[in-house]
């Protein structure tokens, strides 16, 4: 078991290093002078040269990369070219906004998805099942930024009480959460529906029904637990993905999160910030993956002992 954990960690670290290398190469492949991002539009060539020397941009690429990795090992993600603040503090500033949105969206999506899945699986009504399927497919087929914009328009004209973007008080959370929830709930409900139907057709459930147990009890006690596990792990991975920033939703609602920060960084060619946000997001996903893998290994001994994942 320990060996398994260590293996997973080692792979995770490897993945992170690979990502850092790729991001670094992409960032420096851009044909632009980062010194201008620091110095501003009207800087003269002398000032630019001085800044380039100060930031170590005139050194060969591999050296810059090693220097960068060395600093990461000490927890220093560098300073944003454009904002002059440390990348770590910028990420820390923006992360809570994304976290709040991501968590509330995941919780609501799960809740709605489970509800929809339960309803359509337990009732066995053909029409209901198809309606749910159609609705789920409908929402999943919508671009999330369009859904958000439409909700924004609806709020502007009919629901005067809701703020139209920005990060003010709890009411500002409503629209972005609804947007993300409607987008994702469909997936969860279908997964749960499928797994539940499968679980419900198993022998032990038939036996329970034969024993005279009520359908609801059957569903909850026997089928639900089994069906929920893949759902929860998927939600966990999705959460990690959301935490690295939902650029589109954050753009529509002017939500000051990490997604927006990363987008600005790419646009301004703010290399330290690009590296920082990408690595941060990747770190979250890698951690989530390790946690999920460990969870599965703990539950399913077959995986622990053999390597068939």
């Amino acid at each position: 078991m320990i060996a398994y954990i260590l293996r997973r960690f080692a792979i995770g670290v490897g993945v992170l290093i690979g990502i850092s290398l790729i991001t670094f190469l992409i960032a420096f492949a851009v044909p632009a002078d980062p010194a201008i991002a620091v110095a501003g539009a009207k800087a003269d060539p002398k000032t630019l040269a001085e800044i380039r020397a100060q930031l170590g941009l005139d050194q060969p690429l591999y050296r810059q990369y090693l220097r960068y990795m060395h600093r990461i090992a000490h927890g220093d993600l560098g300073r944003s070219y454009v904002r002059r603040e440390s990348v770590t503090s910028l990420i820390a500033q923006r992360f809570p906004a994304t976290a709040i949105l991501a968590i509330s969206a995941t919780v609501c999506s799960l809740a709605l998805g489970i509800l929809m899945g339960l309803v359509s699986a337990a009732r066995r009504d053909r029409l209901l099942d198809h309606t749910m399927l159609f609705i789920s497919l409908g929402f999943v087929s919508m671009p999330v930024f369009w859904l958000g914009t439409i909700l924004l328009i609806a709020a502007a004209f009919w629901l005067r009480a809701l703020p139209l973007g920005g990060f003010g008080d709890w009411r500002a959370l409503i629209l972005p959460t609804i947007t993300l929830t409607l987008s994702s709930a469909g997936y969860y409900s279908r997964i749960l529906h499928t797994n539940l139907t499968e679980a419900l057709s198993q022998d032990y459930v038939r036996t329970a029904r034969g024993k005279g147990l009520s359908p609801i009890r059957i569903v909850v006690k026997h089928a639900l637990a089994n069906a929920m596990l893949p759902l929860l792990t998927l939600a966990g991975l999705d959460l990690a993905g959301l935490l690295s920033g939902v650029v589109l939703t954050e753009t529509v609602f002017n939500w000051p999160g990490i997604g927006r920060l990363a987008y600005e960084a790419v646009f301004n060619l703010d290399i330290p910030l690009i590296m920082g946000t990408v690595l941060f997001g990747a770190l979250l996903v890698v951690i989530a993956n390790i946690v999920v893998d460990l969870l599965y290994a703990w539950i399913d001994p077959r995986i622990r002992l053999g390597e068939s994942a």
Binding site: D44, Q54, R83, V107, P163, P256
Partner: protein, 539 residues
């Protein structure tokens, strides 16, 4: 699912507290209830309050409240008025300037402001380790280059014969040098404060002599200035404090303005049309034509833009009224290079009319085929994209198929400064000083190739005029020479001038004397607040 409940509850509490924050009735400052406080908001944090470092609108807005310069601009205009200098003389050869200081100004640490404080401030700007963006403005002072290179310990061209006099000696005649002293780069800075905090931290612990002082700066949250009781003019400021919330973007700022939480706000593009169509709101909107020009630059060294007929054709093909309409009036169509309001502006200059037929004829005469597809290099933002598409439309009508190339700001600048890279680009230029030299020489002189002359334009006649005009102190002659230069440049048409942006803000009915200035952010010491009369209804 069971484990989620206590966790979920904890998270909910965390989230709610994060979001609601502490919104008490007072701003959390020790101010009396009747205090006049101006509430503002901004998206980004103020980059720096250090006058040597901060070089953007946001930083300058605050720096000019906290620090004083020798001279400054008047409230609504571009004329220079005394700040800490009561009077000054500029030598006829424009190579030396003498300033006499007032004696009753002091820093908030109690010490009087003396001439040495200005010398210290400018030497700071010229110090390489400070990485100031203002270095280039003061290189023309005698001894500045030696100081920057480390060969000298002081800038010999700045003399302090006594505590109340300061003399600047320049290496070449520069009639607009006095304008550079109106920039916060040249504000009086107390050496002992910088020594105490160090160059990097001085920004957070600024000490100046201006009408306001820094009371509180919580990064990413808010910045608070309070009135300076020791300011040399006791009748200003008329506010007790200024509170600027940070991290509030345009839509939230608007929302807060609607509820009366903010006193002044920018108008989001989505609301602009509606505001202009509502008379009550329109009356509260202030606007000013900025001293800038947005234009299309054509690289005079790249085919086919090396042919003046092609450049003139582009001028005739593009509709300028359309650009302003698309901006809903946030722009004034441009006729010439210099913006209205800039000293030296010529209201009678002949621009290019909209004449697509003539444009087509010129293109044909120049041998430009139907397969001409220039790349329009531009900044990647929404407004630029829309304007880019509008230009594409206009050019398509004369058979030119422009391809848009949106780039990040720094990439764009990098690209257009390289020769033979960007053939057609969209850019704007904002005046640093109210003088035509700041446009015509910086943007069209040969020596600015690779710097700001991105069209690589060069005309010996224009060079002669520019060289002749630069040292001239007699303003009418100076402007006359520059006007001749402008006319020649317009004939050569390296640019298609598009529009001059108009800047808008909206204020609450109880905010008065919020005067917009074309060169600088509003001087907040002039603003005053009357008693509020109920809540503002703007929805």
């Amino acid at each position: 699912m069971k484990a989620l409940t206590p966790f979920g509850a904890a998270l909910a509490i965390l989230a709610l507290s994060e979001l609601t924050g502490c919104r008490g009735d007072s701003d959390g400052l020790d101010l009396p209830k009747t205090a006049k406080v101006l509430h503002l908001a901004s998206v980004a944090d103020v980059p720096s309050l250090d006058p040597a470092v901060g070089y953007d609108t946001s930083s300058w807005g605050f720096e000019q409240m906290i620090f004083d310069t020798l001279v400054r601009y008047s409230d609504a205009g571009v004329d220079l008025v005394p700040d800490l200098a009561t009077q000054w003389e500029i030598a006829p050869d424009a190579k030396s300037l003498t300033f006499h200081l007032r004696r009753d100004a002091s820093f908030t640490n109690g010490r009087a402001v003396v001439s040495g404080d200005f010398k210290y401030a400018i030497e700071r700007v010229l110090t390489p380790s400070v990485r100031s963006k203002g270095t280039e403005y003061f290189r023309s002072i005698v001894g500045a280059e030696d100081f920057v290179a480390g060969r000298a310990k002081e800038v010999t061209g700045i003399e302090n014969p006594d505590a109340w006099t300061i003399i600047f000696r320049l290496t070449e005649p520069d009639p607009i040098f006095v304008q550079k002293l109106a920039m916060p780069f040249a504000a009086a800075v107390p050496r002992e404060a910088v020594d105490q905090w160090g160059n990097d931290d001085f920004s957070r612990h600024v000490i100046g002599s201006g009408p306001f002082t820094l009371k509180e700066w919580r990064s990413g949250e808010r910045i608070v200035l309070v009135r300076n009781p020791h300011y040399f003019d006791p009748s200003w400021p008329r506010l007790d404090a200024i509170v600027q919330l940070i991290g509030v973007d345009l839509d939230l700022e608007w929302l807060k303005f609607e509820t009366g939480e903010l006193d002044v706000s920018a108008i989001p593009p989505a609301e602009f049309l509606r505001v202009m169509k509502t008379p009550k709101l329109k009356a509260l909107a202030e606007h000013i034509v900025t001293l800038s020009t947005d234009y299309l630059g054509m690289n005079c060294q790249m085919k086919p833009f090396d042919d003046v007929r092609v450049r003139r054709a582009f001028n005739l093909a593009i509709r300028k009224d359309k650009a302003s309409a698309i901006l809903n009036g946030r722009a004034v169509p441009a006729v010439g290079i210099l913006p209205p309001g800039l000293p030296g502006y010529d209201p009678n200059i002949d621009g290019y009319p909209y004449d697509p037929t003539k444009a087509k004829a010129l293109l044909e005469a120049a041998g430009v085929g139907r397969d001409f597809a220039p790349t329009l290099w531009m900044r990647a933002d929404q407004t630029e994209m829309t304007l880019g598409e509008s230009i594409q439309q206009d050019l398509a009508e004369v058979g030119v198929h422009a391809v848009l190339k949106p780039l990040a700001w720094s990439s764009l600048l990098e690209a257009i400064r390289q020769p033979n890279t960007a053939d057609l680009f969209s850019l704007g230029w904002e005046a640093d000083f109210p003088d035509p030299q700041n446009f015509l020489e910086v943007l069209f002189a040969k020596k600015q190739f690779g710097a700001n002359n991105d069209t690589f334009y060069s005309n010996p006649q224009v060079e002669k005029l520019l060289a002749e005009a630069a040292p001239v102190s007699d303003l009418s002659r100076r402007y006359q020479l520059y006007d001749q230069a402008q006319k020649l440049i317009m004939q050569d048409a390296p640019w298609v001038v598009l529009y001059h942006p108009v800047s808008y803000v909206i204020r609450q009915p109880w905010v008065h004397d919020y005067i917009l200035n074309p060169m600088r952010p509003t001087r907040l010491e002039r603003v005053w607040i009357s008693a509020r009369e109920g809540e503002q209804q703007t929805r």
